[in-house]
């Protein structure tokens, strides 16, 4: 996917004036939040679970090589294969290689953010393999030829009329005059369209929420059952996973699963939790002929040992997106790459560079809500600040802003001079603003006054008034 993160400001503008998008975002604003809050209200051990989950991931990241090699050994022992891929290109080629060897014409796909990260669909299409998205949201946006705007609700930026339009445009074998009044009807139609595609597919590709080292298992959570159909009916199941998805044991997986769905959708558990261990065995009645795990690094190992390591605890629940006032104002596409919201603002610069994505960690008020809801206790604002530090060191932030900051810091570091200057400034501003009580415009303050008034200072600085009071007291 071609990044447009450098265009963040104009993306934001487009998003804010898009009435349909704003309507869709308005509808998601409180739903996720309320459901999450209700789910955790019934879980008194929530805080303990967070600590336990954090400890599991921290331990795993400290011994990542060991657990990944253990995982591979156990996958191989059960007849599967692990493909270590450093880059998106290597991962794409690996997937295509498997498809070619099996003579695959179509592949079904469960939801996978790694597939987005490596831009798999475009690549497969260019190489004459037809990818079919089977998660309802992903299916909709595939028809519309657009990327997901949310990591668990990919079509959350759409209203149902837009979905109906997409279905009418693509399901041309159906009666064009049919009624598509609600989500239920459209869901049924998508099921009917997808059913033959599941049966015809040669290869099934899914993501992975967890890789379990001790058993060589990949785990997906879904609410639609599409993942199961994708991975059990085909000649091969390919699980796409980034390397930080590994956890040591089944027990660890169970611990983190207790947080995942609750944080994401407010469900205690997702409808399906599917564990895949190796290909079909002789005695199995179904299952894929081959089992492959494509293990992607794409810059993650370089985050180990840095101030960004904690980000690798992320389990992609999207609680941070769902609680972010910036995300809920502009939606996911404005962020300009695969991962939006607070987790994207930290991860995206790591994966595609702070030069491209520098706006993302800056576009936060540091309100801290993301960190407060993160089940893995990832200090997201702190890591956004670390990106700002890198940006500042590389002199990437806009020059006028840097100059303004330097001038301010020059005075702030000289208290005596500062107090003289602020006393003059408050007197001048107080004098000119007194009549109206606020400024509607003010030189050098356009960023402020273009959207709001500036209340007038009272007319003296506190320090000068305090000094005066102390003098009077002494006299």
């Amino acid at each position: 996917m071609l990044a447009t993160s450098h265009n963040f400001k104009s993306n934001v503008h487009d998003a804010l004036v898009d009435a349909t998008l704003q309507k869709a975002l308005g509808m998601m604003k409180t739903g996720f939040q309320v459901k999450r809050a209700q789910a955790f209200a019934k879980l008194p051990e929530f805080e303990d679970l967070r600590e336990a989950a954090k400890a599991i991931k921290n331990h795993t990241l400290e011994h990542l090589d060991f657990y990944l090699e253990t995982f591979e050994r156990n996958v191989v022992a059960r007849g599967g294969q692990v493909h270590w891929c450093r880059t998106p290109a290597e991962a794409r080629e690996t997937v295509l290689g498997i498809c070619r060897r099996l003579g695959a014409k179509t592949v079904t796909k469960g939801k996978s953010m790694i597939a987005e990260e490596i831009a798999l669909n475009d690549y497969l299409e260019a190489n004459n393999v037809v990818p079919v998205e089977t998660d309802l949201g992903e299916y909709i946006i595939q028809l519309r030829k657009e990327p997901p705007s949310h990591i668990i609700a990919p079509a959350v930026h759409l209203v149902k009329e837009q979905v109906a339009d997409a279905f009418r445009a693509h399901h041309t074998d159906l009666d064009p005059g049919r009624a598509l009044p609600d989500a239920r009807t459209m869901c049924d139609e998508a099921r009917m369209e997808l059913r033959p595609k599941f049966l015809a597919a040669d290869v099934g590709i899914t993501g992975a929420n967890f890789l379990i080292a001790e058993t060589g298992t990949s785990v997906i959570v879904t609410n639609e059952g599409n993942g199961d159909l994708t991975q059990t009916l085909t000649k091969a199941h390919i699980a796409l996973a980034s390397l930080e998805k590994v956890v040591p044991t089944l027990e660890d997986t169970a611990t983190i699963l207790r947080l995942l769905a609750r944080s994401a959708t407010g469900q205690e558990f997702s409808t399906y939790t599917t564990l895949s261990t190796g290909p079909r065995r002789a005695e199995d009645t179904d299952g894929p002929g081959e089992y492959h795990v494509v293990l992607l690094d794409n810059g993650r190992s370089a985050m180990l040992g840095t101030e960004f390591q904690d980000m690798l605890r992320c389990i992609r629940c999207a609680a941070c997106l769902n609680h972010c006032p910036v995300y809920s104002a502009v939606g996911g596409h404005a962020y300009g790459w695969v991962y939006p919201g607070p987790m994207g603002s930290v991860l995206t610069p790591s994966l595609i560079g702070v030069e491209e994505a520098g706006n993302l960690p800056n576009a936060s008020t540091f309100c801290g809500r993301c960190e407060s809801v993160c089940p893995m206790k990832i200090p997201l604002p702190r890591m956004m600040r670390h990106w700002r530090e890198r940006e500042y060191e590389k002199k990437l932030s806009p020059a006028p802003y840097r100059t303004g900051l330097s001038v301010w810091a020059f005075f702030a570091r000289r208290p005596a001079l500062y107090h003289v200057m602020t006393d003059i400034a408050t007197r001048v501003l107080g004098f000119f603003g007194r009549r109206h009580g606020r400024f509607r415009t003010l030189p050098l303050a356009n960023g402020w006054t273009q959207v709001r008034d500036l209340p007038t200072p009272e007319g003296r600085s506190f320090q000068s008034l305090w000094a005066e009071r102390q003098r009077k007291k002494a006299a």
Binding site: K9, V326, T365, A412, A425, G437, R438
Partner: protein, 258 residues
């Protein structure tokens, strides 16, 4: 019961109170004195350094932090009428000097003694009520840093409940950011505008005649938006009401009385 232990408090005025609304500083002094403290205002202070810190300018941020550490050495407590600035000193100064063992002890010592004003009055000094009058319906916005870094939530509500004539109408979404975010509001004015517009709508929906909060940044932002929209909601720092100064000090952004 207000503590009868004497305490020497250094008031961290905050740069926005110093510049825009000295009345908040005097309200803080009054409340601290009522809570049995003697108050001093070190002249060596300017700003806690947060604008530099959050802009990635570590050198200036650290220099300003050192200035604050020097200025407030020797007080029993450091109190700021702001959750944001108090949070910077309490939570972030120790992070900034984590790699300087020589400073670590001084920083920790300062961080531990630093409080946001209202939570200091209630949690440290045991203040349970104030003697103040403010007739009308007020609503209260929980500023993010105070709320999430310092746990300021029930303390202002507890003291406001004792203000004569005052009715508190809770603000829906009181814990959602108003869109100030320091330099965020001028770097991303369009997003900030959306956030503060949503906040203004929530404030108006309460029907309150006065909006209170504990941080000047958020207050300037919300007052500025309400005034741009021509709304008549009075906006004040919570300390002004608690210190019984609402009658003598005009609300933020009010035109001069003639």
């Amino acid at each position: 019961m207000v503590s009868d232990q004497p305490a020497r408090v250094g008031l961290f005025v905050t740069c926005l109170v110093d510049l825009f609304r000295p009345s908040v500083g005097f309200a803080a002094v009054k409340l601290l004195e009522e809570a049995g403290c003697t108050v001093e205002v070190p002249r060596l202070q300017t700003c806690c350094g947060q604008p530099a810190y959050n802009s990635g300018d570590k050198a200036d941020a650290k220099a300003l932090a050192r200035q604050v550490i020097d200025a407030f050495e020797g007080f029993d407590y450091v109190v700021a009428p702001s959750g944001s600035c108090a949070g910077q000193i309490r939570s972030h100064y120790p992070e900034m000097f984590a790699d300087e063992p020589a400073m670590a002890q001084r920083v920790q010592h300062l961080a531990k003694r630093t409080y946001e004003l209202v939570s200091f009055l209630v949690d440290v000094r045991g203040m349970e009520h104030v003697v103040a009058r403010c007739a009308g319906v007020v609503t209260y916005h929980d500023s993010c840093s105070g709320l999430r870094e310092l746990g300021v939530k029930q303390q202002p509500r507890q003291l406001l409940a004792s203000v004569d004539g005052l009715t508190l109408k809770e603000l829906p979404g009181a814990e959602i950011c108003c869109g100030f975010g320091g330099t965020f509001c001028i770097k991303y004015p369009e997003i900030s505008d959306r956030m503060v517009s949503d906040k203004a709508a929530d404030i108006l929906a309460t029907g309150a005649d006065t909006l209170l909060a504990g941080d000047m940044g958020c207050l300037l932002n919300m007052a500025g938006k309400l005034q741009r929209q021509g709304k008549e909601v009075a906006v004040r720092h919570v300390a002004e009401v608690l210190a019984d100064m609402a009658d003598e000090v005009a609300p933020m952004g009010a035109p001069e009385k003639r």
